[in-house]
């Protein structure tokens, strides 16, 4: 770019024709690529952009007979219920804190597991471990909730019956005791999700040039030194991308995790209620599309600004790794 500018400043007369010729050349060169991109763009436009106009429903008193665009405006009334009670604080706190915890824990564990697995020399063992870590990710959250129930059931759960009671300890009523759940939820989430991020990090590590490691070995660096000075810095762009993507969804919660895993137990709401479950519980009986959309709108707007914000932060610290 700089060279081009200098060139054009030096020879202003030729600039126009040169530019035009060049852009035509560029277009010709990349036309097939644009053409290839077209189906994807059209898909995006139809699937992701046209429905966005439906956002107006969050500001309307929706009636099916008049349709989204014909229904009367309702101002901000649809948003009221989200902030009407003290729950607004609880659900926002839960959603944010859990998601931040998930991001941190999953990142740390994911990178750790990825390094472990790539260091394994035996090919078969590597495959086995990799699949074993990934497997929980493929299990439906409903099944996960029953696996958890198998451990925590008061009458017949494994923890109460096979661990606490032989030790002579009193069983715990897991589904009514709030204090354990922040740990249980983080644990269950990592168990389930870590395999996926691990997979991405493994791909990242495999992409690192072996020459770095060879050079390091010759210089006498040990395994830990190699990990710290080669693997982690090379993996940083991947980590940042994944974290940024997750930060954008920090206002959404994994509905199944927060609704199914605690078995929708009322006594646990203070620590398990998130925006999604709150909206579901409130509106299940009311079926108001406007109010449900208001919640979705609120989540996406906050998520949007969070992505912008965290990207700015990343750009300040290390411009090469920012998404845009």
């Amino acid at each position: 770019m700089k060279i081009q500018q200098a060139e054009s400043q030096a020879r202003p007369v030729r600039r126009v024709s040169h530019r035009r010729g060049r852009s035509r050349y560029l277009f010709k060169k990349w036309a097939p690529a644009y053409l290839l991109m077209l189906p994807g763009l059209i898909y995006f436009f139809i699937n992701n952009y046209i429905p966005m106009t439906g956002i107006v429903v969050a500001f309307k008193k929706y009636k099916v007979s008049t349709g989204i665009y014909g229904s009367p405006w309702n101002g901000l009334k649809n948003f009221e219920y989200l902030f009407a009670t003290n729950d607004a604080f609880t659900i926002t706190r839960n959603t944010l804190c859990y998601n931040l915890a998930f991001i941190l824990v999953n990142m740390a564990l994911g990178v750790l597991f990825a390094i472990f697995i790539t260091e394994i020399k035996n090919k078969y063992a590597k495959k086995v471990y990799q699949s074993a870590v990934l497997f929980p990710f493929l299990i439906s959250i409903i099944i996960v909730s029953y696996i958890v129930f198998g451990f925590l059931s008061v009458d017949n759960g494994m923890i109460n019956k096979s661990i606490l009671s032989p030790l002579g300890l009193e069983g715990v009523a897991w589904y009514t005791e709030k204090k354990y759940w922040p740990f249980i939820l983080v644990f269950v989430n990592s168990w389930k999700e870590v395999g996926y991020s691990c997979l991405i990090y493994i791909a990242g590590i495999t992409g690192i040039d072996d020459a770095f490691y060879e050079a390091a070995k010759i210089d006498g660096a040990g395994k830990l030194r190699q990990i710290w000075s080669i693997t982690l810095p090379c993996l940083l762009p991947t980590i940042i991308t994944i974290v940024l993507l997750n930060v954008g969804r920090v206002f959404y919660s994994n509905f199944g995790l927060f609704y199914q895993v605690p078995m929708n137990s009322g006594s646990l709401f203070d620590v398990t209620n998130t925006i999604d479950t709150y909206v579901y519980r409130s509106l299940m009986k009311i079926g108001n599309i406007g109010m449900a959309s208001a919640a979705g709108f609120y989540q996406s707007i906050v998520g949007f600004f969070l992505v912008l914000f965290s990207n700015t932060v990343v750009r300040r610290i290390s411009p090469d790794n920012a998404l845009f």
Binding site: I46, P51, S65, T66, A84, T85, S153
Partner: protein, 512 residues
């Protein structure tokens, strides 16, 4: 150069493929635009049969579903000159119904789900037709059954459904296994006549627990305990459980159920049972119905909403002899007629839809087809002409028959159809007696119109979810939790709802 031509070719092919894929669903993006169809007014000009779309819930996958549907279509074409479309859905159908209603898909007649949002949301969102004027046009069959009560399922005069022909209120009841009672040497008398109040259960539970320490004495689905349930209870909910009439036959003061003495009594009893170890420990989060658990063999007693001959039904469903102790007095009120058949606002011709629905309420053949299948093939009258009792044809049973719904409560008019063998022949009369002898709420025919209070109702719902089942199952201490529960209810706007209810009810009573 060759490479580039190849690339362009490939890209073109891909684009073409993408477009040809689009061709089949060109309207997809505009569907969100809602219902753009204008209802065709007036009659259809005589000959062309109107296409009426019926949605109904099926209990399972029946091998002969298609045969039965064809028979239903033939019958409707022959008797009404209408073309019948049938959409069958599983019992968890609220979401699917909501999709059909919101997307403007063609739908005429459907059962209003009592589990989801209730009729109010269907009215405020404009999903359904007001049946009042339609009933005046085509309502003779419905009126023959319900008389003056044909339009009872209304909110503020908007008739949202025609009730299914069944019991008019649910009484709470404890269903117990008779064989266990006998083994423990407990005599509850004929129809549990020796039991008078809920507290009488404590001694029975204690005896069963002592004799069968490994058995779960009381359990079931988390909604179904005497304290968690939000239907029945001998009170009038007036549309939702926030603000109720505690003595609906005599008093029209709206009060808070969760502060009433009766609620406190039930809650304390549940706590006492829970601490004594009678109640299933995970009751507050259990999703397995009492029937399922009882059939599995390790449950002695569950709570359910009952009706005449409930014990017979429980026996058929669980395989154990059962007795049923009805401890609540049923009272005729508006909330129990939440279930009914409605007409969607997507209907192209609501008049025709009503004509069809009205005909169904009078047609023995159609109700038979829906519930029992084709006569001779899936069921036979035992003594045709003299008795309404029907049974499996020779050599068929539940497993080998091709269609058998046995969901009378869902049929528009189950008593027009045959009565299944095992039930008493006088079931329709018994049910009519039960309904007619019931006490009547002073607010019978009134339902709260909460369209202006959706914010409060949404918040109240979430508070209720938080406390009602934990307290109602006895798993937390009511002395600590109950005051918190009520404080949060008031913080969420309970008083506003109660005042509005009282005002609407007073206006309704004055206009009567």
């Amino acid at each position: 150069m060759k490479k580039r031509i190849l690339a362009i070719l490939l890209a073109t092919v891909l684009v073409m493929a993408a477009f040809s894929g689009c061709g089949s669903a060109p309207a997809a993006p505009s569907q969100g635009g809602g219902n753009t169809q204008t209802p065709e007014s007036g009659s259809q000009g005589g000959e062309a049969p109107y296409e009426v779309t019926l949605m109904y819930i099926v209990g399972g996958d029946y091998p002969d579903q298609a045969l039965v549907e064809q028979a239903m279509k033939d019958l409707v074409l022959q008797e009404l000159n209408m073309k019948l479309n049938i959409v069958t859905v599983p019992s968890t159908y609220s979401t699917q119904l909501m999709l059909m209603l919101t997307s403007g898909e063609k739908l005429d007649v459907f059962p209003m789900p009592a589990d989801g949002s209730g009729p109010l949301s269907y009215i405020t969102n404009g999903y359904i037709q007001d049946l009042g004027p339609l009933l005046d046009l085509h309502g003779d069959k419905v009126e023959a059954i319900y008389g003056e009560e044909s339009k009872i399922a209304n909110i503020n005069g908007f008739v949202y459904a025609i009730p299914m022909n069944k019991e008019r209120d649910y009484a709470g009841g404890m269903i117990m296994r008779k064989d266990i009672l006998d083994e423990c040497g407990i005599d509850v008398g004929e129809n549990c006549s020796k039991l008078t109040k809920l507290e009488d259960m404590t001694d029975i539970f204690a005896a069963v627990h002592a004799k069968f320490p490994d058995m779960i004495v009381f359990g079931g689905d988390y909604i179904y305990t005497p304290a968690s349930i939000f239907l029945g209870r001998g009170i009038d909910n007036l549309g939702n459980e926030f603000g109720v009439l505690l003595d609906p036959a005599n008093d029209t003061t709206v009060s808070n159920w969760y502060e009433s003495d009766e609620y406190l009594r039930r809650v304390n009893l549940m706590r006492q049972w829970y601490q004594a170890g009678y109640v299933q420990k995970d009751m507050a989060t259990s999703n397995d119905s009492g029937t399922t658990q009882m059939r599995a063999g390790n449950l002695f007693c569950d709570f359910d909403l009952t009706k005449p001959y409930r014990a017979v039904e429980a026996e058929q469903a669980t395989g154990f002899p059962c007795v049923c102790f009805d401890f609540d007095e049923p009272i005729k009120n508006g909330c129990t007629i939440l279930d009914g058949w409605s007409i969607a606002s997507n209907s192209e011709n609501p008049e025709k839809a009503m004509e069809f629905l009205n005909w169904v309420y009078g047609s023995a053949e159609f109700n038979n087809l829906m519930n029992w299948g084709i006569e001779g093939e899936h069921f036979v009258y035992v003594d045709k002409g003299n008795s309404p009792i029907v049974d499996f044809p020779e050599g068929k049973d539940l497993d080998s028959v091709g269609y058998h719904m046995n969901r009378g409560w869902e049929m528009p008019n189950q008593y027009a159809a045959g009565i299944w063998a095992g039930n008493p022949e006088d079931l329709p009369e018994a049910m009519a007696r039960y309904n007619n002898n019931m006490k009547v709420s002073k607010a019978y025919g009134f339902l709260f119109d909460g369209a202006e209070f959706e914010t409060e109702l949404a918040n109240l719902n979430s508070v209720r979810e938080k406390y009602a089942y934990a307290i109602g199952s006895g798993s937390v201490d009511p002395e600590v939790e109950l005051p918190k529960f009520n404080a949060e209810l008031y913080a969420a706007g309970l008083q506003t709802i109660m005042d509005a209810k009282q005002e609407q009810l007073d206006a309704w009573l004055a206009s009567k």
